[in-house]
């Protein structure tokens, strides 16, 4: 029988391997570094308590992703009782944003953060974790068709918001 270290399922290895994933899911969903770290720590404590259930490194990755998603959503609901940053508060970017501009990245993060809970998490899992709709559906326990619908509607919404801010296809096609 292999040990936890031999299978790659020992706690330290799992923390080191998945800390960026877990922290980033919470960060991109909640947009608060301190809260994201707290959520990420809670996710790993939960893993520590349930380590005996983990069978393979792939199982650990899926388990951590699912718990990170759930804890982030729970924290988001707790915080929703407090004032949030509304889309109207998102500052207008300087004119002439080009591809890869950090200002555009920041604007996109704020626009994603202004989406409702479910489409926001779908966008985070799609573009942070590069998951396919079926994998996102499994992580969020929702139908694949709903995931695809959230993706399409969120992209259309973001495209419209960016166009109104003067950011669009033309800057990328020359």
């Amino acid at each position: 029988m292999l040990t936890e270290v031999e299978t790659g399922c020992d706690f330290r290895s799992l923390v080191l391997r998945h800390q960026a994933t877990v922290f980033s899911i919470a960060l991109h969903f909640l947009r608060d570094r301190a809260t994201a770290e707290e959520v990420a720590q809670e996710v790993f404590f939960s893993l520590h308590r349930n380590l005996h259930q983990i069978e393979t490194p792939a199982h650990a990755a899926a388990w951590l992703r699912k718990v990170a998603v759930q804890r982030s959503i729970d924290e988001g609901r707790r915080r929703s009782r407090r004032p949030q940053v509304a889309l109207a508060d998102v500052a207008e970017p300087a004119a002439g944003i080009r591809p890869g501009d950090p200002l555009l990245s920041e604007l996109l993060r704020k626009l994603v953060a202004s989406l409702p809970e479910a489409p926001r998490m779908v966008m985070v899992l799609r573009y942070q974790e590069d998951l396919e709709p079926a994998e996102i559906a499994a992580a969020l326990e929702m139908p694949v068709a709903t995931v695809k619908s959230h993706l399409q509607r969120s992209l259309a919404l973001l495209r419209g918001k960016l166009a109104r801010r003067g950011v669009g296809e033309s800057e990328w096609t020359g």
Binding site: A20, S24, Q41, S105, V112, R126, Y127, E169
Partner: protein, 91 residues
């Protein structure tokens, strides 16, 4: 590839947690449950102990009452006999 999706991948790229994150997780995990959890466990133990003490006191009360009733019953038997004998003599 769609330009917006490219930009979203760039904007939502994974970020490393603050320095020392893994060490903090390892240290807290080695310590076991958090302070709040320890307090919660201690409070639960106090409640259980208080409940057990209350139940024990109630049990002792019932025992004392039962013994008292038995003693009274035992004591009343000879008194009743003496009373009936006295009644017999006087009649």
């Amino acid at each position: 590839m769609d330009w917006l999706e490219d930009e979203l991948r760039r904007a939502l790229a994974r970020e490393d947690p603050p320095d020392g994150f893994a060490e903090r997780v390892m240290a807290r995990s080695a310590r076991g449950p958090s302070g709040a959890r320890r307090w919660l466990a201690a409070a639960a133990m106090v409640v259980v102990a208080a409940g057990a003490a209350g139940a024990w006191r109630q049990h002792q009360g019932y025992e004392a009452k039962r013994e008292m009733m038995l003693a009274l019953r035992l004591a009343s038997t000879p008194i009743n006999r003496i009373q009936s004998e006295v009644r017999g003599i006087t009649q």
